[in-house]
Each structure stands twice: as structure tokens, then as C-alpha cells.
């Protein structure tokens, strides 16, 4: 007989719930309320809505995002089909290569395309769209590829003998089964591109702004905080509408989600040349921009120079490396602590867990720029200069990383068999002892993964850091963007050297995540 354990009524879960709620209220809810209620008046709303520039920004954000989604699918679909339908030697490596772009900080992706594209394409929509596609190929490969893996090729055979042509079999069988995944991936890619900031700032040039970059420009370029807040609210509404429509379509597709058995087949020899061409093309698409970053870091004009690297480890740029490192480490600790408490509350608390679960995704709907703006306005006090403290950036980064880390930890908590805790209890272990001996022992890999994820998010985070970090203690992404906005090969080489270092840092952090998740008890990936 299966029974809910009486041990579920522990004091730890409500305590965790209370602490998490208090932190989220203080650093997320209150700043948003202060921002909207304290800064915006009705006249601001009508002023922003009536302004033609607002709609130009909304229009640009939308059409470049739609174009980016289309470009992402065009580039990603051949390799997605290859990985999703066929087993072959090097499949895992190819999938990892496809994921590289998504793991990199967006400012580094912007720098990579500055490094690889000819000067005539710098500051163009094409550069922005290509960088967005580079960043998002992984979303299509992971989301759509995972669905294609579950498509049973024997159903196609059944369709053929019933008279369906191969095209007809795809349109009537494979497409209906993968439509939900395609819509999901499109929605996610659209949101990433719609709220893009670093890529647009680095590659878009001064005349092109998404809503996100316009919010930052208004708030800090021209001091129009109320206008920026209205734009931020408009952006949240658009994000919520897109997410709601995605969830509706996901709900309609729910019945097909039961097809979870992996059904990939060996690569037939007739398709091998095409497969090799696709794999090589994707590898070049991912690796050439990265190699260009390293290349451009040692090139000044037409000659080789290590001056940029000397500057990176010398006094000029070492402050940025140090700032990013300490902020990332603190974010890792705070992020894991907060997410561990939140996930404990979500999984174990009898009351309020579902509410906290819903609240925990709010930062995902908020842009980091809006978050940073809210923190600045709320904590702009005369009695203490919060912004002068480096750890204030880590607080913002913790809020950005916390929903993602929570998504890693919640399934890990759920995977812990309650019977082990029950067994420890009847052997005399108290609540804290059970937590340490049972829960933490099983959770520790997920915690390491969460730590790596939070560190990676912090290392690459750009929007909030742009607003919150002070000159002299700027993070690496902020410094890279500032250097790229200046002219001269020597200065840009410093940006590329710093970008190279950031690439190494991020990949190291994410390899730690991959390693921890790969061995963890909750590892359910394929």
C-alpha cells in the first residue's frame, strides 16, 4: 500500500518556503511594484504609446525576431533531422557542437560575428539575424530533435503500403507529431530574439533597437525612467501573451507526448554523403566564429600581437576578470541556496508550494534590464549606496539564474524516494539528520549542476550588469561591449581576448553542469 509519509509534515519545508518568498518579495516583487507604481503615471503611458518611435521599436523587435526564427529553422533543420532520426558515430559530439552557441554569453556571440563577418556586414540586420540563429540552433536541435527521436519509422512504412508518398507520410504523420515541438521551439526562439539586447547592441548599430535595448537606452541614455518602465511593461505583456499561446498549443499536443520511446534508426549508407555534408556545414557554422574570436585577439592590423592578452592579464582588464569571477562565484552560492530552498518548498510544503512554483518562473518573463532598473529605483537610498557594492550585481544575477537552477533541483527533489527518509526516521534520525544524510547525499550532484549553471548565467549576463555595475568594477560582458563600441584594432583585440577568456570560463562551468547531470539520479536525458 502506498501512503504519503507523515514525515512530509516537516518544519524544514515551510521554513524554506518562507525564506524564499521573503527574498523574492524583497528583491523582485517590491522593486517591480516600486518601478510601476512609483515611476509611472497615466500620462506616461499615453505619452509612450502615442510616440511613433515606440512602435518603430516594437515593429523592429517583432520582425527581426520573426526573421531570426525563420533563419534559425533553415539552418537548424537539416542537422535536427539527422540527429533526431538517425544513429551514427559522432552523433553525440555533433549534438554537443550544436549546443555550443546557446551556452555562450550573448555578448560573446555578438563579438564572434563581428570577428567573422566582413566589415560591410557589421551593424546590419543580417549580422543580428545570423547571431540570433547561431545562438538558437541548439533550441531547435534539442526541442524538435527530441520529438523526432520518438517518431516511429514503422508508421511511415504503414503509410506507404496504404498509398502515401514519402512527402504525404511526412505531412500527415511526422508533421502532426512534431508540430507542437516546432511551435514550442519557435516560441522560445522568438522570445530570445524579441528580448535580445547584447547582440543588437554589438551588431545592430546605433539606429537599431529592440524593446530591451530601448528600455536601457531610455533609462540610462536619456534618463526617461518612466518611459522605460512603460516599455518594460509592454514587453512583459507581449512575453506573457506569447508564453500563454505556447502553453495552449502545448496543451493541445499533450496527447502525443506519450510517444516517448526513442525510435531512431541507423544511418543508411545511401544517406551518408548528405549526412557528412550537413555535419561539416554545422561544425563550420559553430566553430568558425569562435575560432575567429581567438584569431582576432592576436591580430592587430596585419600583424600578430599578444598585447591584447597582456592587457587581459595586466592591469587594464584584470579588474573585469576579477569582478566577473567574484560575482559569478557569489551568484553560484546564492543561486543554489535560494533554489534549494525554493525547490524544497515547492516539492515538500503542503501549503504554498504551487504558488511558489508559479512565482519562481516570474524572473524568466522579466528582462534582466527591467530587473536591474527595478533594483536601482528601489534601492536608490541616500543612507546607503547599494550600487557601490559589487555583490549587488550578484543579487540581480541570482534572481536571473534562480528559476533555471530551481528547474534543475525540483525534479531532483522529486526523485528522492521518501521511503529512504522513512527508513532513517525509524532508525532514530531526526529531521535535520535525515535532510543531511538522505536528501543532501542524493541531491549533491544536482546542486553541483545548479552551481555551474548559476555561475555560467552570471558570467554571461549582460542586461542587469550593464545597469548595476560601476565603472572600475564592470563585468567581462559589459567591458567587452564597451571595448567593441570603440574604434581601433588594438582595443578590439582586447575585447576579443576577453571574449576568448569568457568562452573558456563558460564552457568550463557548463561542462561541470553536464558532468554532474550526466551522473545524477535525476538524469533522464537521452
Amino acid at each position: 500500500m502506498t501512503q504519503r509519509s507523515n514525515l512530509g509534515s516537516s518544519r524544514l519545508a515551510p521554513t524554506a518556503l518562507t525564506i524564499t518568498t521573503a527574498v523574492i518579495a524583497t528583491f523582485l516583487v517590491v522593486p517591480l511594484v516600486v518601478l510601476v507604481v512609483g515611476q509611472v503615471q497615466w500620462s506616461d503611458i499615453s505619452r509612450v504609446i502615442a510616440r511613433a518611435a515606440t512602435w518603430r521599436v516594437v515593429w523592429f523587435s517583432t520582425w527581426q525576431a520573426v526573421l531570426s526564427v525563420a533563419a534559425t529553422f533553415v539552418i537548424a533543420m537539416p542537422v535536427t533531422w539527422l540527429i533526431g532520426r538517425h544513429e551514427f558515430r559522432g552523433r553525440r559530439v555533433l549534438r554537443a557542437i550544436c549546443t555550443v552557441g546557446f551556452l555562450l554569453p550573448s555578448v560573446v556571440v555578438g563579438a564572434a560575428f563581428l570577428a567573422v563577418l566582413p566589415r560591410s556586414l557589421h551593424y546590419s540586420v543580417l549580422a543580428v539575424v545570423l547571431a540570433h540563429a547561431y545562438f538558437n540552433v541548439a533550441v531547435v536541435v534539442r526541442v524538435v530533435g527530441a520529438r523526432l527521436e520518438t517518431f516511429d519509422p514503422r508508421l511511415s512504412q504503414a503509410a506507404y503500403v496504404l498509398g502515401a508518398t514519402p512527402l504525404r507520410a511526412i505531412t500527415t504523420l511526422a508533421w502532426p507529431l512534431s508540430r507542437g515541438a516546432v511551435m514550442s521551439a519557435s516560441g522560445v526562439v522568438f522570445l530570445y530574439c524579441f528580448t535580445s539586447y547584447a547582440v543588437v547592441r554589438v551588431l545592430g548599430g546605433p539606429t537599431r533597437n529592440t524593446m530591451e535595448s530601448d528600455i536601457a537606452l531610455r533609462a540610462f541614455g536619456i534618463g526617461d525612467v518612466s518611459g522605460a518602465t512603460v516599455l518594460a511593461c509592454m514587453q512583459v505583456v507581449i512575453i506573457v501573451l506569447v508564453v500563454a499561446s505556447l502553453q495552449r498549443s502545448a496543451g493541445r499536443e499533450a496527447t502525443h507526448l506519450r510517444l516517448s520511446t526513442i525510435r531512431i534508426t541507423s544511418l543508411p549508407s545511401s544517406k551518408r554523403p548528405v549526412a557528412i555534408a550537413v555535419a561539416v556545414a554545422m561544425t563550420l557554422f559553430v566553430m568558425v566564429p569562435l575560432a575567429s574570436v581567438f584569431w582576432r585577439s592576436v591580430r592587430v592590423g596585419d600583424s600578430f600581437s599578444l598585447a591584447a592578452w597582456r592587457a587581459t592579464f595586466g592591469r587594464t582588464l584584470v579588474d573585469a576578470v576579477a569582478a566577473s569571477t567574484r560575482i559569478a562565484l557569489l551568484t553560484g552560492l546564492l543561486g543554489v541556496l535560494l533554489a534549494a530552498l525554493a525547490s524544497l518548498g515547492i516539492v515538500r510544503a503542503r501549503v504554498g508550494g504551487q504558488v511558489l512554483d508559479a512565482i519562481s518562473v516570474v524572473p524568466l518573463a522579466l528582462s534582466p534590464v527591467t530587473l536591474g532598473l527595478g533594483l536601482i529605483v528601489t534601492f536608490d537610498s541616500s543612507w546607503y549606496d547599494w550600487r557601490a557594492d559589487w555583490w549587488f550585481v550578484a543579487v540581480a544575477h541570482t534572481l536571473v539564474a534562480f528559476p533555471l537552477v530551481t528547474r534543475v533541483l525540483v525534479p531532483a527533489w522529486r526523485a528522492i524516494p521518501r521511503r529512504l527518509s522513512d527508513a532513517a526516521a525509524v532508525l532514530g534520525a531526526g529531521e535535520l539528520r535525515r535532510f543531511v544524510d538522505v536528501d543532501l547525499r542524493i541531491l549533491h550532484r544536482a546542486l553541483v549542476a545548479g552551481l555551474g549553471l548559476a555561475v555560467a548565467v552570471s558570467l554571461g549576463e549582460f542586461g542587469a550588469a550593464t545597469l548595476l555595475s560601476r565603472r572600475g568594477a564592470e563585468t567581462m560582458p559589459v567591458t567587452i561591449a564597451r571595448l567593441l563600441e570603440r574604434t581601433g584594432d588594438a582595443v578590439r583585440a582586447q575585447a576579443f581576448a576577453l571574449s576568448s577568456l569568457l568562452i573558456v570560463f563558460c564552457i568550463a562551468a557548463l561542462l561541470a553542469v553536464e558532468s554532474a547531470l550526466g551522473k545524477g539520479p535525476h538524469a533522464e536525458r537521452h
Binding site: L155, V161, A164, L173, L177, T255
Partner: protein
């Protein structure tokens, strides 16, 4: 009706069929039996066009279909694992062949009801395939195969793995339906008794191999 001559099939660099020949007359039901792994299913898949032939000829109604793709052969297959389309209702599954032939939805619906009634599943058209029992799924797969009015029906051990009662009941229904529709049937099985009850003629698979 169906003539297979000197058929050779290589799969993955291995010769699976080597010189198989078989003749089946119109309306005749032939059972091929042999042990597992002897190539029975490969022969059916080659006749249906699901695997390519290295050599030999397959002729249906006087037309050489050897190099035609599966969707242009009009040969029905009742698979061992049914292969119902999970995203379609029972009725949509039954009329899938008509759908790809371009028959309009309004014309397909009554045909689905007719075929479902003939396999003892009247009223199931709107059901999800996930809600079907094993026996019901077999009947839907049979209706789907018959609804396309194929020239030849290939049965790939469709009754294996069923309990005795269901097996006997489905076997009787299959026989009645095939006699009623005067279907030309090739049935592969490892169960000789099943083949004898369903078909007019039985062939030991090993005897089909010419060399």
C-alpha cells in the same frame, strides 16, 4: 495474380533471400510457414516494396512492380504490431488510404463506419487508438488494410502473441472476411495450424529457396 520470380534480397551486406519464387492465384489464400529468422517477413516487405530487391521480379495482376515504390503498388500489409497512427482517431486510421487517394472527408466518414461494422467495431470511429484493447487494435488495422481495397493482402504474423480465445476468434473473423471479399492473401506464420485454418494452401518456406 501475384508472381514472385527468383527474388534475391541483400540487407546490410548479407543475403537474406536467395532465389525465392512463388505464385498465388486471384482470390487464393496462401500460407508460408517456417521458423523465426528464415526470411518470411523480409519476403513480405520485398513484395510490399518496403525493402529493395537485388534481383528478381514481382508481378501483380500482370504488372511488374519490382521497382515501384511501396505507395504505388496497392499491396496491403497487416503488420504484426498493427502500426496504428496514434494522432488519428480509429475512423481516420481506417480511411487513411482513402485520404491519400484524395477522397473527401464527407465521403470517407460513412466508409469508415461500414468497414468498422464489418470487423465488429461499429461505433468506434471517434475513439482514440490508445483506448483500444489488443484485439480491437488488430481489427482496426484489418479494417484499415481492407478499406484501401488492395490487390493483394500480406499478413505478417498478425495473430502472434494473442491469448488463445482472442486468437481463435480473430482467426475465424479474418477467414470469413477474406472469403467474403475474395481477397488474395499471403500469410506468413511460424504456426502451421494457424496457416491451415486460414488459407487454402500452405508452403514450407524453405521450399521457396531455389538454390
Amino acid at each position: 495474380m501475384l508472381s514472385v520470380t527468383d527474388l534475391v534480397v541483400d540487407l546490410g551486406g548479407r543475403r537474406v533471400l536467395d532465389g525465392v519464387s512463388i505464385e498465388v492465384g486471384a482470390g487464393e489464400r496462401v500460407s508460408l510457414h517456417g521458423p523465426s529468422g528464415c526470411g518470411k517477413t523480409t519476403l513480405l516487405h520485398a513484395i510490399a516494396g518496403l525493402v529493395g530487391c537485388t534481383r528478381g521480379h514481382i508481378v501483380v495482376n500482370g504488372r511488374d512492380v519490382t521497382v515501384l515504390p511501396a505507395h504505388r503498388r496497392n499491396i496491403g500489409v497487416l503488420f504484426q504490431d498493427d502500426r496504428l497512427f496514434p494522432q488519428f482517431t480509429v475512423g481516420e486510421n481506417v480511411t487513411y488510404a482513402l485520404r491519400v487517394q484524395g477522397v473527401r472527408t464527407s465521403a470517407r466518414r460513412p466508409l469508415a463506419d461500414i468497414w468498422l461494422a464489418r470487423v465488429g467495431l461499429a461505433g468506434f470511429a471517434h475513439c482514440s487508438v490508445d483506448s483500444l484493447s489488443g484485439g480491437e487494435a488488430k481489427r482496426v488495422a484489418l479494417a484499415r488494410t481492407l478499406a484501401g481495397e488492395p490487390n493483394v493482402i500480406l499478413l505478417d504474423e498478425p495473430l502472434s502473441g494473442l491469448d488463445d480465445a482472442l486468437h481463435d476468434s480473430l482467426l475465424a473473423d479474418l477467414r470469413a472476411l477474406f472469403i467474403e471479399t475474395r481477397a488474395t492473401v499471403v500469410h506468413v506464420t511460424h504456426d502451421r495450424a494457424e496457416g491451415d485454418r486460414l488459407c487454402d494452401r500452405a508452403i514450407e518456406f524453405a521450399r521457396l529457396i531455389q538454390r
